[in-house]
């Protein structure tokens, strides 16, 4: 019986099927907001208001021919999208939405799970680099090199920024951090600087403008994705969508006070807060133009990292004052 329930959890809610449906909804929201900011319409006509458009894109990609280049490493080339999808879905299981009850935590809420989520979210970058390397194409090689170079830029500020509120809340467990801020909501304002740094760093992790240089369409055709087509490309795009949902869920849990109120109200909190973070990400995407790779690294180390360190100092001082 317990095995059947676990299987249902893994496949339906909060597992693969829920993540698939919710991430396509978030992609629709992102595309619609981006279009409205640019005075256009965005997806329409497929389903009411174009809601089914991302699912239609996914299905179309599944139906296309899947070409593997001859010089590529076939096994690595094929297995990497599946590993990417598995990694981000596992990270999704650790969000404190469905394991909110501190007294009776499920298997997926334990001390240190914030570190596990951050680790699982940095794996897709390495998977992208391996995908580029195994494609044996000069455009992909450049894309892969750029992916790793960008990793050196944004990873440290992201970690520093996300761990700041954890230090104030005195715990490494997402559900406890969320509960701490739900009890004292005013302390959320002290983390504002960290929130801004984290939003910019998450934009870089998701490789969206202004940080979409690794797969810049007008320069290197597709970067890491140049040789991918058909089902593998569909799985990669789904991986990026789910990564967007999980990252915004992480930011909402740490900076916006989590998802209180039980199963149904908590789920509504989850939807509203993740859509707010995604709205900020879309705004950032429409606002700027793409910057070069050397400019990304210098921007990250000149502005983002010092601001994250400043936020840490503020947090530590505040903790000393409070105790």
């Amino acid at each position: 019986m317990a095995a059947l329930r676990t299987l249902l959890y893994l496949v339906i809610y909060p597992g693969l099927l829920f993540l698939f449906v919710y991430s396509t909804f978030c992609e629709w929201f992102d595309r619609k907001v981006y279009a409205r900011l640019q005075n256009r319409m965005g997806p329409t006509h497929t389903g009411r208001f174009g809601l089914l458009q991302p699912i239609a894109d996914f299905v179309k990609l599944l139906a296309k021919e899947d070409v593997v280049p001859e010089a590529a490493d076939k096994r690595l080339f094929t297995i990497l999208p599946i590993i990417g999808l598995a990694v981000v879905s596992t990270a999704g299981l650790l969000l404190p939405v469905w394991n909110f009850d501190l007294a009776a935590p499920g298997l997926t809420s334990f001390s240190g799970d914030i570190i596990v989520v951050l680790y699982l979210l940095s794996l897709p970058t390495l998977i992208l680099f391996l995908a580029a390397w195994s494609s044996a194409n000069p455009f992909s090689t450049i894309g892969g090199a750029r992916v790793l170079t960008m990793l050196f830029g944004y990873e440290v500020p992201l970690f520093l920024a996300v761990l700041g509120p954890a230090i104030l809340a005195d715990s490494w467990r997402l559900a406890e951090i969320a509960a701490f801020y739900q009890a004292k909501p005013l302390l959320l304002l002290t983390n504002l600087l960290g929130f801004i740094v984290a939003v910019i760093a998450v934009q870089a992790k998701l490789e969206r403008t202004p940080f979409d240089i690794p797969h810049a369409e007008t320069e290197i055709v597709g970067g890491t994705f140049t040789e991918y087509s058909g089902k593998k490309l569909a799985l990669f795009r789904l991986t990026f969508d789910i990564e967007m949902v999980v990252s915004s869920g992480l930011l909402a849990a740490v900076f916006l006070g989590g998802f209180p109120g039980g199963a149904v109200i908590g789920f509504l909190h989850f939807v509203v807060k993740t859509l707010f973070v995604i709205f900020l990400l879309s705004l950032l995407r429409a606002l700027t133009s793409r910057i070069r790779i050397d400019q990304v690294v210098s921007f990250a180390w000149k502005f983002l990292a010092p601001l994250a360190v400043l936020q840490l100092l503020v947090t530590i001082l505040l903790k000393g004052l409070l105790s």
Partner: protein, 400 residues
Amino acid sequence: MNFKIPIGPQHPALKEPISLRMTVEGEVITDVDMRLGYNHRGLEKLAEDRNWIQNIYLTERICGICSHSHATCYVQGVEKLMELAPPRRGLYIRYLVSELERIHSHLLWLGVAGHEAGFDSFFMYTWRDREVVMDLLEMISGNRVHYAINTIGGVRRDLDAGQIAKIREGIVTLRKRSEYYFYIGANEPSFVARIAGVGFLSKENAVALCAVGPVARASGVARDVRKDDPWAVYDEIDFEVATADSCDVLGRVVVRVKELLESYKICEQLLKSLPAGDIAVKAPRKAKPGEVVSRYEAPRGENIHYIKANGTDKPERLKVRAPTLANYPATVEMLRKGFIADIPLIFAAIDPCICCAERTVTLIAAGSGEESVVRMSDLRRRAIARHQNAPVKRNAVWPL
């Protein structure tokens, strides 16, 4: 690592096929090998089979964005051959459409520059405002692209008072939006970081490599055919040549936006002093034998057409030298020592209209009259060998 990256012939950064094979070391470009010819359509040969009127439409279709430039340059030349003097009103309407085309082309280019830099919001906004000018052109000429308003001896359609009022309104809207884009283009930090200092072409190189149009003007070379060699209405209109001194892509953006603002001024002056009268004179079907060289300032630079007539109703030879072709050597120089990430921007900054530039050179041996088609690399070698030992010509007179 030192390897070659092929940009083109099929590439998302290019709107048309051209092959640029870049030798790179890391992210820095060391050399560029440019290959043309993927878009060659044999237009100069087709022009020899059609009569003077049909050729207006053929030359118009050399390019979509600068269609009026090619048609006007051709019609100017044919009117000179047939010794026609088009009426003043016809000339005013013709050059009004020229300036409207310049506006539409520069707004298009601003959007393309934004898109190549990843600044998609800017791209969407400039193209939305370009619709104002496209609707005006559709109202004047009946079509949004390929206006076909020229005929030999004048223009085909007249403007009435309602249309003139709409054009004035359109220009007021566009002027406000262009000033806003000037502000954004020069102040948005991520955009300026991409375009400042990129694609450097010094003033000496711009002159030595024969750059034309906004590319030359952004390096401080104030060369504009409308001012150097004014014809038709341009000696009665008051406007300035837009230049910039920064010699990079930011300079080219600034020059094009300044040209937009000058074009609005020119349009308003043309509309204010539009003379009354006929719009065309009747043209004969045959042209007397002769040859003519016609120059015109297209949005991309100086456009040259050479037409030779032999007394029939078809031209004997039509040769087109489009401005983009003149900018290619300057592009190769700009790309050296740049980053890979800057390739699309540098290439887009010359406003490439590759289909304008695809022509062949046929060599005809003077003694025997036999024709041969020669490769560019052979021509270059022959020219270098010949001029290496020749003395420098001063005050040379161009024989035509």
